[in-house]
Symmetry: C2
Subunit: 272 residues, 2 copies
């Protein structure tokens, strides 16, 4: 077992997030002896592929206000093609082209991320509650950290797609921010960085001058109220990571040059 | 380094090859302490996806009579989505559902399979030779067997997609039969099994009663003349594997129940 400090970086797929800048920064940071793990999303790519194949995405909203992708078996296959096949492989390629020995994985691989499949989920549609039973989404409950240590100690940079394995062995779609939080918790990482297309959590979204620079663990419930849409899951992920033993979570701007280095310098919303 | 004997199984994607039977057989064989490695194709899935996305496949024939996929950058991305995203992930899922701890990889991952990209390839079209320069296909020249041993010794079954990494780090499409041969050579496997939709190499294709049951290494050049189409690459792969130190190559029927066990019992074309 290796106790070298690790940093988990979640790369958001939102427009403007600069994968190329993130990869270049990672190549530099690795030279300083840090262990890095990438976790990425891919909803945008899955939407594009779904549209092209005649299965456009359908989003659902839970009674508590979180949105997620409705994923029947066909949508799951499209999601896997886009996320594992395109985003994961091309990100791994981009890192390899910079001399970084990246290794792409999803939660199916070696049972890297095990999830409980949500067998009946509630959605709210036009104000009415509905039960959905053929959904392949899940909540991660276990990360195979032995596999991650095996790969990290051998010098690989794991690149992880947001697909988990259910208890029965089925693939399930999981939220990438919370997947990153679970991976960081399993590794007891020093830092989880959530890179996105905004400078961090804002008190009055979208007013960037209202950026919250510091947040303590106890202020998270209140911060959740300020969070809009996708940002809700980042704040939830941050809370899960801190509860899981991660020292700090930084929600930071993924549109800049050197975005990881910038985040580590405290630019963004630092949650401790 | 572990010297446990390993078996590399190539799963052909041709119609009739029963992935489910292969996976079930693998689950049984693993109980007897063997190490297994899967290598799969995916041309059929790539063709279907390409058609759906408006980039139908284009095959080219080399002056020496081998056919291969013409792979410009766009086709490469479609190929990766189908092969890494769909075939590899769903095969890994199928194995996980049987309790086999499979782990999907392609050659980009940890530079598992390094290839020389063919920068200028010759094709024959309507009897005329043509030079193609924007092709992303390659020939594997190195397999990262340390990574395979790391995973095998930790109890994982590697499932490998036919995508390699070029010297520059780019993804390239490679032939799956020859990829399987290179993997088996790198591991000095006792057996390479090439499962396909016919009973083996036939003297008079498609007459199945003309099955060649045994072939020595010295008879391969002559056998190559009998081989038709895709079978040529299997015979070439067999030759490369034997030259690489693999004890035997078996070209066998992938349409039956227990296809791996059947092949190991000598049903098929055994090349030594």
């Amino acid at each position: 077992m290796n106790f070298q400090s690790s940093i988990v970086v979640k790369l958001g797929g939102a427009q403007g997030v600069d994968f190329s800048a993130i990869c270049k920064d990672a190549a530099d940071i690795l030279k300083h002896g840090k262990q890095l793990i990438f976790v990425h999303g891919g909803s945008a790519e899955a939407n594009i592929l779904g549209e092209a194949l005649g299965t456009p995405p359908k989003m659902i909203t839970s009674p508590s206000g979180f949105t997620s992708r409705y994923t029947d078996r066909k949508t799951l296959q499209v999601f896997i093609m886009a996320v594992n096949g395109k985003v994961n492989s091309l990100l791994t390629e981009q890192l390899q082209m910079l001399g970084v020995n990246a290794l792409g994985l999803c939660g199916l691989d070696g049972r890297l991320m095990q999830a409980t499949r949500k067998e009946a989920i509630q959605s709210v549609e036009n104000g009415k509650r509905k039960i959905i039973r053929d959904d392949y989404t899940g909540k991660i409950n276990r990360v195979n950290n032995q596999l991650l240590h095996l790969l990290l100690d051998a010098g690989y940079l794991p690149v992880i797609a947001p697909v988990a394995v259910s208890t029965q062995g089925e693939a399930v779609n999981v939220d990438a921010d919370r997947a990153a939080a679970m991976v960081a918790s399993a590794l007891k990482s020093e830092t989880l960085i959530l890179l996105t297309a905004v400078p961090g959590l804002m008190k009055n979204f979208p007013d960037e001058t209202s950026l919250i620079r510091q947040l303590s663990c106890t202020q998270i419930t209140k911060a959740m109220e300020a969070a809009q849409g996708r940002m809700k899951k980042k704040v939830l992920g941050a809370e899960e990571a801190l509860n899981g033993g991660v020292k700090q979570v930084i929600i930071a701007d993924g549109r800049l040059q050197n975005p990881i280095t910038n985040a580590l310098a405290g630019n963004g919303t630092v949650i401790q």
